[in-house]
């Protein structure tokens, strides 16, 4: 039985097409449709209910030491009020999940993990805690709304004091009021655009959602579903667990080597990752040059030789073309390499291209 997020009634009222996803009933799209919602986020603004994401707190004297043991990045130099994207790995170096680390202080840290991995992650973290630390899974008490797109700043300014708005990408304000409701306001997102993610209590979520809808009206803000959440993240080259990485893929193979710091001291998976730091296959981008759309988990060929498989594939609405990510054997990963994807029995030509497919420098702009 799927759960409803605190915003379920808002989605129904906005005529969202509701589907089950990661244990929740969520809108895959609203009336405008995936393409219009995608374009709204690229050109104006969109809001997403991402309450299905899971939040875990670590508190105590050894909170940071535990984070350092669990994740592959070096968080020791992370400042209070800053966020880091990282991965956590199994002993064999493959990925348990990718996650965000919010550092409130050395003794208070928030981890945000994928909904689909929620329970697995909680168990994994719990089993590896040491020293003076208390873990709490606060997911059921926390709702999350993402406001994304170039007009996000103007919309946010209508609902909160400017001093609350995090000026740098990947920073956050721990406690502030948005639309009169207490929340954590974060300069993060999963779309490749300038924007915010707002963490709040369940009762606050509909208040903030409705205030954003109203404040965004003059800017062309649209409510956005899971459909465009995926096309936006994909177009902007952001990985998704179960696609670009999973428990058979290392961060190096996923192209997430930047999130592994072997020199930081001991951590789970370090030994395996040291041995696997020069992978023989890696995740690259493909542009479909033939007629057809590659989808996830389709085989990729050089002539008769199978050289890998697609991780994600979709039509990219802003770029107006079909793209895919694929994990390919070297040396087929070189830019410009011509390959073929087996799209349901039909070979479609593709070429290795640079990722992200789409970049907007404003995403990281400093205020």
């Amino acid at each position: 039985m799927e759960l409803k997020t605190p915003l379920y009634d808002c989605h129904v009222a906005a005529k969202g097409k509701i589907v089950p996803f990661a244990g929740y009933l969520l809108p895959v799209q609203y009336e405008a449709g995936v393409i219009a919602e995608h374009m709204a986020v690229r050109q104006k603004a969109g809001i997403f209910d991402v309450s299905h994401m899971a939040e875990i707190t670590l508190k105590g004297k050894d909170a940071m030491a535990n984070v350092q043991n669990i994740v592959t990045s070096d968080c020791s130099k992370l400042k209070d009020g800053h966020v880091k994207y990282t991965t956590m790995c199994y002993d064999n170096g493959t990925v348990v999940d990718d996650l965000l680390v919010y550092k409130v202080s050395d003794e208070s840290i928030l981890l945000v993990v994928n909904a689909a991995n929620h329970h697995k992650d909680v168990e994994w973290i719990k089993d590896h805690l040491t020293g003076d630390v208390v873990m709490e899974d606060i997911s059921d008490n926390v709702a999350q709304i993402a406001l994304q797109g170039p007009c996000s700043l103007d919309i946010m300014k209508k609902l909160t004091d400017e001093k609350n708005i995090p000026s740098k990408y990947y920073t956050f304000t721990e406690k502030c009021l948005v639309a009169g409701e207490e929340c954590l306001l974060s300069r993060t997102g999963y779309t490749g655009e300038f924007g915010f993610e707002i963490y709040c209590g369940n009762d606050s979520a509909p208040v903030i959602w409705n205030a954003l809808m109203e404040a965004g009206k003059e800017y062309g803000l649209l409510p956005c579903g899971l459909g465009c959440r995926d096309t936006l993240r994909f177009e902007a080259g952001m990985p998704l667990y179960g696609h670009e990485m999973d428990d058979t893929i290392t961060p190096y193979e996923a192209g997430l080597g930047f999130a592994v710091k072997l020199e930081k001291g001991d951590f789970i998976g370090k030994k395996a990752l040291e041995e696997k730091s020069k992978p023989t296959r890696t995740c690259i981008g493909l542009k479909m040059t033939g007629r057809g759309i590659a989808r996830e988990h389709q085989d990729v060929y050089d002539g008769d030789k199978k050289i890998g498989f697609t991780a994600s594939g979709s039509h990219c609405p802003y770029l107006n073309g079909a793209y895919a990510t694929a994990i390919l054997e070297m040396p087929y990963t070189a830019l410009g390499t011509k390959v073929e994807v087996d799209v349901r029995g039909r070979r479609v030509a593709a070429e290795v291209v640079k990722t992200p497919f789409y970049v907007n420098p404003d995403q990281r702009k400093k205020l």
């Binding site: 799209q29 393409i35 096309t231 039509h315 079909a322």
Partner: protein, 126 residues
Amino acid sequence: MNVPSNLMYTKTHEWVEIIDEKTVRTGLTAYAAENLGDLVFINLPEVGDSVTNGEALGDVESVKAVSDFMSYVTGEVTAVNEQILDEPGTVNGDPFGTWFVEIGNVTEKGELLTPEEYEKVLAEEA
């Protein structure tokens, strides 16, 4: 849901216009277009290709979904609506006015539904 009375239908949501004894045109119903969402890619056979009753003659893809486009007649493709290959979104705008292919030399027709029968199919799926 709009179901024009001059067309025949299939249980997999194609419409079929009977042009004459041996010729039909076929497209996607409004119900299918709405359920798939914005179409971004359509793959169709070429003129001269043969199609078979009960088999996919092409496929239609929305941003997130892929669906077979079925043939309920056996015959030969005599025309292809090239416009929808370049602008698949045309189908969402006017599904009943946008044909996919014309099939001639029809030697066999499969299970085609009257508008009334198709409305019952829609009622069951709703």
